[in-house]
Amino acid sequence: MSVTAAKSIGAKPVTAAATKQTPVAHIAATNVAVDFVVGGRRQRVLYDINVAVPKGSFVSLIGPSGCGKSTLLKVMAGLIEPSQGDIRVANVKPKEAAKLRLIGLVFQDATLLPWKNAVENAAFLLMTADETVKKSDAMDRAAEKLRLVGLAGAEKKMPSQLSGGMRQRVAIARALALDPEVLLMDEPFGALDAITREEMSECLLDIWERTGKTIVLVTHSIDEAVLLSREVHVMGTGPARIIETLPITVPHPRNEESYSDPAFTAAENRLRSLLIESHRRAR
């Protein structure tokens, strides 16, 4: 993939930033701002964002509703163009990166096609993205990813026969089937019950440890953010921006015992007070 990425920036002279050695940011946002036009009036929904996500890292965006965390994720996915600043994924524009299948997306709703079974759903995006891929190859890869997310044996199930958690697993497998370098997840477990959420968190940790993907997670849950992330960006409203970046030092491998780790509790408390503060200021 790095070859293709290099090709598309080949036209420009190699900048100092690109040649800088120490950890190259896999996702880099520089002074990113986003304006929406609401009712004919320009409104700034994201204000001066600077984020660098190292390759293979797990980063969470957390904050109150309306803080622009989903918007930032959509900017990273290339679904929203920033009004100002620059955003790069694997050194290219997000739209390019998405076309190169470097980005996998997971949303709150699994949005599976009801007329296709689990493995067909998991293969669907890959087959849409790449017309040349053989159906049997796509299906094989999708089945492999279903096994990775713990759905071995459910390949032939229709979405209506799957529970909410299982449907979301299929959605993750669908994203992974693209073999992306980056996984962008917008409150992927937001619609699930507490126990299923924890199960899914562990499933995601497992996937991250096994595949080494760079993952950005938008979440409302402090627990989820601390358990999963290496780094948490806390976002605030008015104007919507990052108010603090908190490194999470809970040792790896993490599991349910991590919840009682002192570093976990410390990070949790810090995040909680930051969020309470930003909520208060939002009002």
Binding site: K74, A77, G78, L79, A98, K99, R101, I103, L105, F107, Q108, D109, T111, L113, P114, W115, L125, T128, A129, G150, G153, A154, K157, M158, S160, Q161, S163, M166, L178, D186
Partner: protein, 276 residues
């Protein structure tokens, strides 16, 4: 994973048991019909109601048998109109919906006109169509199309919009074009809605055919009804009505059968039991 195992162990249902279950479901409807018919028959006999005012069910059956040959010919003519008109209405309805969403500016112009046109009483158009196209097939087909395309278009539009926006984002993120999203996601998603529209359209088509025949025809069940009324042959009117209803019902179930075949994932509703 325990959920999968539990579902696989669901008991197999025998064909005989399913038939009995189906029969049990329609039994109340049959019983109610029988009661109504018996009361009707008794009412006519006890009060000696004149046949040309209201015939007894038995008189209607007698008329049905006596006129079976001419009714069969008329049914054929009407069924052909309904089928032809319905298929055309379905095509027009789908094409209009696709045009509206594909060419947004054109859609914004066309959509209000279609809604406006829907409020024109279509029955009143029948004489105009007869005037323009004569007594043959064309005016009937045209009438069916203008009556029946509307629910198809409206439901198809709702169906095309029924895709979750996040799924469209997902498609866009991998570089899928508008046309590809339309073809692979929006149109398949619209099928359950389209089938609902077609079910309404098929019943409208039968109405359209009968109205078209009323306005001017020399064959068909509508023509039989009108002819019989000039002869004060009320039992024949009712017999023809019975046949029209049976025809409509048969067409409706053909569409419903097609729905089950084409969109098995469509949500099934029990129209009577309120859920939640």
């Amino acid at each position: 994973m325990s959920e999968i195992a539990a579902e696989a162990a669901a008991p197999k249902v025998s064909a005989g048991y399913r038939l009995w279950r189906g029969l049990k479901e329609v039994l109340p409807a049959i019983a109610l019909s029988a009661v109504i018919l018996i009361v009707w028959e008794m009412f006519i006999r006890i009060f000696n109601v004149v046949t040309f005012v209201l015939p007894a069910p038995s008189a209607i059956i007698v008329s049905l048998i006596k006129n079976r040959a001419s009714l069969a010919v008329a049914t054929q003519a009407t069924a052909f109109e309904v089928l032809f008109g319905f298929v055309l209405a379905a095509i027009v309805g789908v094409v209009v919906a696709l045009l509206i969403v594909r060419f947004e500016r054109f859609g914004r112009a066309l959509y209000p006109l279609i809604v406006l046109f829907q409020n024109v009483p279509k029955v009143a158009l029948a004489p105009i169509f007869i005037l323009w196209f004569g007594f043959e097939l064309t005016p009937k087909i045209l009438l069916i199309v203008v009556i029946a395309f509307f629910p198809v278009t409206i439901d198809m539009l709702a169906g095309l919009q029924s895709v979750e926006p996040s799924f469209v984002s997902l498609m866009r993120s991998v570089g899928a074009s508008k046309n590809k999203i339309m073809l692979r996601v929006r149109i398949p998603h619209s099928l359950p809605h389209l089938m609902a529209g077609l079910k309404v359209a098929i019943t409208f088509s039968v109405i359209g055919a009968i109205v078209g025949e009323f306005a001017g025809a020399n064959r068909g069940l509508g023509y039989v009804i009108q002819f019989a009324s000039t002869q004060l042959d009320t039992p024949l009117i009712f017999a023809a009505l019975l046949v029209v209803s049976a025809l409509g019902l048969a067409f409706y179930y053909v569409v419903e059968f097609a729905e089950r075949l084409l969109v098995p994932w469509a949500p099934k509703y029990d129209p009577i039991q309120l859920t939640g």
